[in-house]
């Protein structure tokens, strides 16, 4: 297939994927009073201001940043040592851990929601942001574990041996030699976990009940009703709430794609 025919195939897809988003962005700048017209006479930022004015959306973005950031950090902290041990120390049960983690990542979240709800309430973590980070471990750790095991396996084993010969303990070799070299892999895993946490709805809508604790998906899903004209304001809210992950897609596309498809080739 020539590049020309490849682009001929790709163009309808691009239109299908991007035109609706373009319309959403345009609608978000559409003056409220002109909604009945086929096209707006001028563009306005009023809708974005209105979406942010209640404070609910800005709060939700902050909540999502905190939850997604903490989820990514916790996932890396738990998964990186485990991935190193599985990849380089030949730890017993390593394969079982990987297989179990993959199976767990396929669990429907609803299958664990009721007991988690009860447990979080007992721990007084229901309706708190840390109380959401804990259940997010169930998808973030498997994802990070698989990606990072691949990362550590890809680093030449000689590096680890050389560090050991030079007197590093296994843990020292991990901390001083392998972990810095695994930085790109860590970044990929962190980005993907961040995106998954940013987008998660079911646990968030189940475990967070106060409006001030809502994450972005919950705030958007329950948006409307509180506003005089939700149509353009909702478009503005969706645009604003989407900007961070779209920025990730555009800025880090190579990294995200590599992470998404790692394991799909051989695994």
């Amino acid at each position: 297939m020539s590049p020309r025919s490849a682009w001929t195939i790709a163009l309808p897809y691009l239109a299908f994927f991007l035109l609706p988003l373009g319309w959403l962005a345009l609608t978000s700048f559409w003056p409220d009073a002109e909604l009945a017209r086929p096209l707006p006479s001028h563009l306005t930022l009023e809708n974005h201001a209105a979406a942010l004015s209640g404070g609910g959306l800005a709060r939700a973005v902050l909540n999502s940043l905190l939850v997604s950031g903490a989820t990514a950090a916790l996932a890396l902290a738990l998964a990186a040592p485990a991935a190193f041990a599985v990849a380089r120390l030949g730890v017993r049960g390593g394969r079982a851990l990987l297989g179990g983690a993959l199976a767990i990542s396929m669990f429907p979240p609803i299958a664990t929601a009721a007991p988690l709800y009860t447990a979080l309430r007992a721990a007084r973590l229901l309706d708190t942001l840390p109380g959401l980070v804990a259940p997010y471990t169930s998808f973030s750790v498997p994802l990070a574990l698989w990606l990072l095991t691949g990362t550590f396996r890809a680093l030449p084993v000689e590096l680890y041996r050389a560090a050991r010969v030079d007197g590093c303990t296994p843990l020292g070799a991990f901390r001083r030699v392998l972990l810095p070299l695994a930085a790109p892999g860590l970044a990929t895993a962190g980005l993907l976990v961040f995106v998954f946490a940013w987008n998660e709805l079911l646990y968030a809508v189940t475990f967070l009940t106060s409006p001030s604790r809502r994450t972005v998906p919950v705030a958007l899903a329950l948006f409307g009703g509180e506003f005089r004209d939700p149509f353009v304001v909702l478009a503005a809210a969706s645009t604003l709430a989407t900007a961070p992950v779209v920025a990730i897609a555009v800025l880090f596309q190579r990294r995200v794609v590599a992470g998404l498809t790692a394991g799909a080739v051989k695994g």
Binding site: P20, V91, L201, T242
Partner: protein, 283 residues
């Protein structure tokens, strides 16, 4: 030494996933309504109730239909896109980034976007086609297909990227040698590309059907399961039974059926994948 490094991750997964799953199984054998203070063992009677529950059977049918049609369409649409991405040459990075955008959006935003597009007065569809577009989401069959459509819009890029990874793993020499031997482009695709892409296709099928069977977000936002319960999937019915109706035992039973559905799909595809097991080491 190694065990100490693995233990925290293993313990976390046991605590937030395995333990709760077992607790759900146990809970599904009980009648528990916390608000009423009711909690006792009832054996399989929650499951017996579900077998005669039209709403549950409808949710099961909706989920199965959603999964089969959405995943089928995604695979059909993703294959040409993956080929295009593979052969795009210059500008391929930009193309991949553009295609990645629908996938990286929160599903909630994708569903809201299409809810706005399909909105009967001001939506784009109503503007372009004033007579026909009205009220897609208020008609049962159409509403479920609208949910499938949104899923296809959002997830086709992911499937295409998985297939692209599969395409990139096929040695180019094979196709080149076949072309030298006089094979047409179509013949190369049918006899070389497609068979070698089989593992990637099956893997995409596996990932996507497991994911589609737990569908929640799209329907929650687009139709809220309506009109009536005609678009309600299992996850949403279980969520409402647990949190809106406060019936934990019955909700747990619906949740566990959802889980068993995922297990059944997983085992079916794994046997199709042959000896590849989920325990196999990553690359």
């Amino acid at each position: 030494m190694g065990a100490a490094l693995v233990a925290p991750a293993g313990a976390a997964l046991a605590l937030v996933a395995l333990g709760p799953l077992l607790a759900t199984a146990w809970l599904s054998l009980r009648h528990r309504v916390p608000v009423l203070g009711e909690d006792h063992f009832v054996g399989l009677s929650n499951y017996r109730a579900l077998a005669h529950d039209a709403r549950f059977l409808g949710a099961l049918a909706n989920t199965a239909y959603f999964t089969a049609v959405a995943v089928g369409l995604e695979l059909l649409l993703a294959l040409p896109l993956a080929l295009a991405l593979h052969h795009a040459g210059r500008g391929r990075g930009a193309l991949r980034a553009a295609v990645l955008v629908p996938w990286i959006l929160p599903t909630v935003v994708a569903a809201k976007l299409w809810a706005l597009l399909l909105q009967p007065d001001l939506g784009l569809l109503a503007r372009l086609w004033p007579d026909g577009a009205g009220a897609v989401l208020t008609r049962p069959r159409l509403a479920l297909h609208a949910a499938i459509f949104v899923d296809v819009w959002k997830t086709t890029p992911f499937v295409a990227l998985l297939l692209l990874a599969g395409l990139q793993a096929i040695p180019e020499d094979l196709a080149r040698a076949a072309r030298v031997d006089g094979a047409s482009a179509l013949r190369v695709f049918r006899s070389i590309t497609l068979p070698l892409l089989r593992p990637a296709l099956l893997l995409a099928l596996l990932f996507r059907s497991l994911d589609a069977f737990r569908v929640f977000d799209v329907v929650f936002v687009l139709t809220e399961g309506g009109p009536g319960h005609t678009t309600e999937p299992l996850s949403l019915y279980a969520y409402r039974t647990l949190l809106r109706a406060g019936s934990f035992g019955l909700g747990a039973a619906i949740s566990l059926v959802t889980f068993l559905g995922v297990v059944a799909i997983g085992l079916a595809w794994l046997s199709a994948l042959g000896e590849r097991s989920p325990g196999e080491a990553p690359p």
